[in-house]
Amino acid sequence: MILEVDKLQIHYSTRSGVARAVDGASFVVPEGRIVGLVGESGCGKTTAVRAIMGVLAENGRQAGGRVVFKGQTMDEATTRRLRWRDIAYVPQSAMSSLDPVYTVGSQLVEVLTKRGTHSRASARARSAELFDLVGLSERRLADYPHQFSGGMRQRAAIAMALALEPSLLLADEPVTALDVIVQRQILDVLRSLQQRLHLSMVLVTHDISVVAYLCDEVVVMYAGQVVESGPVREVLARPRHPYTMGLRNAFPDLLSDALELVPIAGSPPDLSEPLSGCRFVPRCPFAQPACSIDSVVTGSDGHRSACRRDAEADTIRTAALDPRTWQRSSSFAMS
């Protein structure tokens, strides 16, 4: 395992109290694999990867749990040492994550010379090489971020992330801001680079079709917790948690025209309220009274689910395929 996230707790202090953005989430990233971290917005995915990079907002703090990278427990000092050299980050919006007043090339040179061991001359050569790697002409190194198109900026951001040859890449919604055709291109770039450079990768997305397209493993997060995890094929073919089933219905397939899209009614809970049991209960068409008391994680190491009715997963899955199931608004519908 290149990365282990163990019972991670991230708390934000807000005006209305403490929001538990990540509440005991655990998952692992095997060496050389792409792990998709999926869930609706506000489920703590971004918070989790930002916590790994050590750049939480001012009002956020790690309240518990640990992150282990290559056997080392990450604390402030290790995070500072490993940043970008071993763990790099691909942002959602490359536009806002590049400094508008410097050329893209000089920002590459900056990280290569200040964080890497490059001289200015070798940094320039390496920049050209990186641009070539992500399919950009080296002439564009002299351009400013605003002169790039969305897809090119995203390629530049990937080049930036690969600058110091990290072993783990955290990509936060790397294609969300792009149109579908460019999305495909960028995902293909990521996949080919991952294979060529034998990278490990965490891909954060709300779009389960992106997971299906690119990832080896998937971790489904809901309300700051992991509700299901396992190999992508297995989880998407036989989801065991109703939330995963709902997500699967809610997104089009990247490759084929999907069936009817069925959104999950409602929205994730307010995390500053005290919550108990399974957090999906208010939106779950299959919830039973016991579900709100506590939740249990079941399953083999390969495919785990946090649904109390895991034993009935096959029946529930069949029912979940019917769009009418998700129109039921009340809880405890099938109890």
Partner: protein
């Protein structure tokens, strides 16, 4: 380049509008223009010369073009009282105003930028809670009043600085430059500069502070942090560099604006600059000088507006380097 031409035209047209407004203001004032321009202090020849120079017997529109033509040649007539060309008088006092303005602005902006960045750094602390309203108060105080208080304290009470003027009486200099670079001149300059700088520092300070706060939340600053760049590099190289853009523009605008605002400071400290000249000319009804001084201030304002536009273009690649796509 197209943008430069556009901004130039814009500012030039604004200046033309100001000159036009001024022309009609002076001529449509109560009383006939002849009464305003012809003065018993002038002898018959001078009266005749003035009539011809301004073409006051011609129709208004012709007068207007004669006036514009004269301005373009730098001719603004004779002062009623000093009986010297207005242009000469203006050029005599202009260096004093420029030195006062620039020195104050440089001090104010150097201090304001550093203090503003520091206050942004210290946000949420008690220093910030006290400093921000205090800075607002300096912006709210009339400049001349700050000058009066400083004058009473540091000049009349403590005796550290002279109470007015630009040089001590009795001192002689070979030329103007020698005078300006003398210690005596600097000694006279200190208090007006201090006053003006105290008044001017608020804008860059508050601007820098709010820009810094905004920029520190930008994603590229977080990215710089993720890249593991040093704190110094993040704050200075990325945050401050971006936050500085509007401040630099404000500096250029400030040169133009405070040339006009210096009117009161120059009066408080009897500083022989263009603002005091304007006040004296208006009180004495020396119209050619008043008009000339006003136009000179308006010209500086327009030029500095243009410079601000240019600076903005040079400093922000989003403006200077067009989209390539």
């Amino acid at each position: 380049m197209r943008l430069v031409v556009e901004r130039f035209t814009h500012n030039a047209l604004a200046l033309l509008a100001v000159t036009t407004i001024l022309f009609f203001m002076f001529r449509l004032m109560p009383g006939t223009p002849l009464a305003a321009f012809i003065n018993e202090n002038l002898n018959a020849d001078q009266q005749q010369a003035m009539l011809e120079q301004f073409g006051l017997d011609k129709p208004m529109w012709q007068q207007y073009f004669i006036y514009l033509g004269n301005l373009l040649r730098g001719e603004m007539g004779l002062s009623f009282f000093q009986r010297r060309p207005v242009t000469t008088i203006l050029l005599e006092v202009l260096p004093n105003s420029v030195i006062l303005t620039l020195t104050s602005l440089i001090i104010a902006y150097a201090f304001g930028v550093l203090a503003g960045a520091w206050l942004a750094w210290k946000r949420g602390s008690w220093i910030e809670r006290v400093a921000v309203p205090a800075v607002l108060a300096t912006r709210a105080a009339p400049e001349f009043w700050i000058g009066m208080v400083l004058l009473a304290l540091l000049s009349f009470n403590a005796g550290w600085f002279p109470s007015g003027g630009a040089s001590s009486p009795g001192l002689a200099y070979n030329n103007n430059w020698q005078r300006i670079f003398s210690l005596d001149y600097v000694h006279h300059l200190a208090l007006p500069v201090l006053t003006l700088a105290l008044y001017l520092q608020g804008l860059p300070l508050l601007l820098m502070r709010s820009n810094m706060l905004e920029v520190m939340h930008e994603e590229f600053v977080t990215m710089a942090r993720m890249k593991g760049l040093s704190e110094w590099r993040i704050v200075i190289g990325h945050a401050a560099r971006n936050a500085l853009l509007p401040v630099v523009t404000a500096f250029a605008l400030g040169v133009g604006l405070s040339m006009g605002g210096n009117v009161v400071i120059e009066t408080v400290f009897s500083w022989p600059g263009i603002g005091r000249l304007l006040v004296q000319a208006v009180s004495a009804h020396d119209y050619p000088v008043a008009q000339g001084a006003f136009l000179m201030i308006a010209l500086v304002l327009a030029v500095m507006n243009f410079v601000a536009d240019l600076l903005y273009m040079v400093l922000d690649p989003r403006v200077s380097h067009g989209r390539k796509g």
